[in-house]
Symmetry: none
Subunit: 223 residues, 2 copies
DNA sequence: GCGCCGCTGACAGGGCGCTGACAGGCTGGG
DNA sequence: CCCAGCCTGTCAGCGCCCTGTCAGCGGCGC
């Protein structure tokens, strides 16, 4: 899960980053409205935490521009004063949830998790593609009903492939979502990861489209 | 076990908190309908005690909104008047149990415990998983019928693992449910707790999935 | 047939989780 | 009021699993 934290106060930003990372997010931060707008418009996040008081471009405007551009990622809005008017404005602008400062980090994390759950709310917890099935609640993987022990990183890879099972996912995209932007430069890490997974799962699960990326073989037929 | 007590009468709220805490819950309270709605929607509780007469937003509406949003935690409804019509409304809105005021705290606690057990889909007060058995009424633990002396905190850990015995529970989730929101930030406290429990219970009870969390080994096979 | 992308096995570093020891706080008894 | 005992959080150290890196090779595409 990738998250963007938009916050100009460096100390709060650091706390935010730490808390979200502890919750399993890969976190990126930015400190002003313009770069926030650019990042949210061009990058692909599973969650954005947005402070309203920002230099250069106001948080509410950023949010409105995103929504106007059709970007629909869940956005959690932070505001300095917990006034009702600001809250209503935030909701109107397209915020999915709202948190007044000061807040406890635990509460933010809880709401962030709830948001991601809600936005992901497609279908049941168990997803299947061919022989492979993932249980999002138990975080387990099975092939033909036989449980396969996978590590946390391997699970995340499979979950992402499952989410985009209708296409081949480029290595750069996978690296981004698994490690964040500061990902290790060696793309070979991903190849090693895939190799280990293939050994565990057996053949016919993870396919390669040379020059394009990886995909779940049960996902699409042919080409 | 985390519980939310929604009650605007401060004296009753205090009694509720005390009684639930004595029963082993980590209790959070709130006094109006809107904050109740937010908390119940975003946080993760094992039980909610909900008074119907609330400022800002009526209890029944709160409950309906939760259910509409797909939140399925057990809710125990309190009402000032024990009228049948209100009871029917409550059940329709998705309440799991119903208690007319005035009530004895012992009865509330008993029903609360029953609700939590029922939501886990299991019958009696004694739950078992493999060699391990927990008695929810007496708050005692036994392995192969042999009683094992555990502290209150250790019991709560076991109870939570028992409730979610079908999966591995993340350390962050355990900290949240054992200590509430103001949990100590050192995750090592949990590791120490588990270590002490393992020494008391012996091997083959509490398992670890590296990168995921802890689980009861009798719960699931493999993976 | 050649080049290059991608695969694989081996290896080492790091981080997660385990353990034993210690200290502070709370409780109950004298 | 003091003391003793237990509970529990913190710390430091360590071991093991995960995972990134490297080198070499195989196979697909041109």
């Amino acid at each position: 899960m990738r998250a963007l934290a938009v916050e100009d106060d460096a100390r709060i930003a650091a706390d935010l980053t730490a808390a979200l990372q502890a919750a399993g997010f890969v976190v990126q931060t930015c400190a002003d409205g313009e770069s926030a707008w650019f990042l949210g418009d061009t990058e692909d996040y599973d969650l954005i935490v947005l402070d309203l008081g920002l230099p250069k471009l106001d948080g509410l405007s950023v949010l409105k521009r995103w929504r106007a551009a059709g970007r629909e990622m869940p956005v959690l809005v932070l505001t300095a004063r917990g006034t009702w008017s600001e809250r209503v404005e935030g909701i109107d602008a397209g915020a999915d949830d709202y948190l007044p400062k000061p807040f406890r980090m635990e509460e933010l994390v809880a709401r962030a998790r709830a948001l991601v759950r809600r936005s992901a709310g497609r279908g049941g917890a168990v997803q299947a593609a061919g022989d492979l099935s993932l249980d999002a609640n138990r975080m387990t993987v099975a092939r033909r009903g036989v449980p396969v022990a996978v590590t946390a990183l391997e699970y995340r890879l499979l979950a992402y492939l499952m989410l985009h099972r209708d296409r081949a996912v480029a290595p750069s995209e996978l690296l981004e979502h698994l490690y964040g932007d500061n990902f290790s430069r060696e793309a070979n890490a991903l190849e090693a990861l895939v190799a280990r997974l293939r050994r565990k799962l057996g053949p016919g699960i993870i396919g390669t489209r040379r020059g394009f990326g990886y995909f779940l073989e049960a996902g699409e037929v042919g080409a």
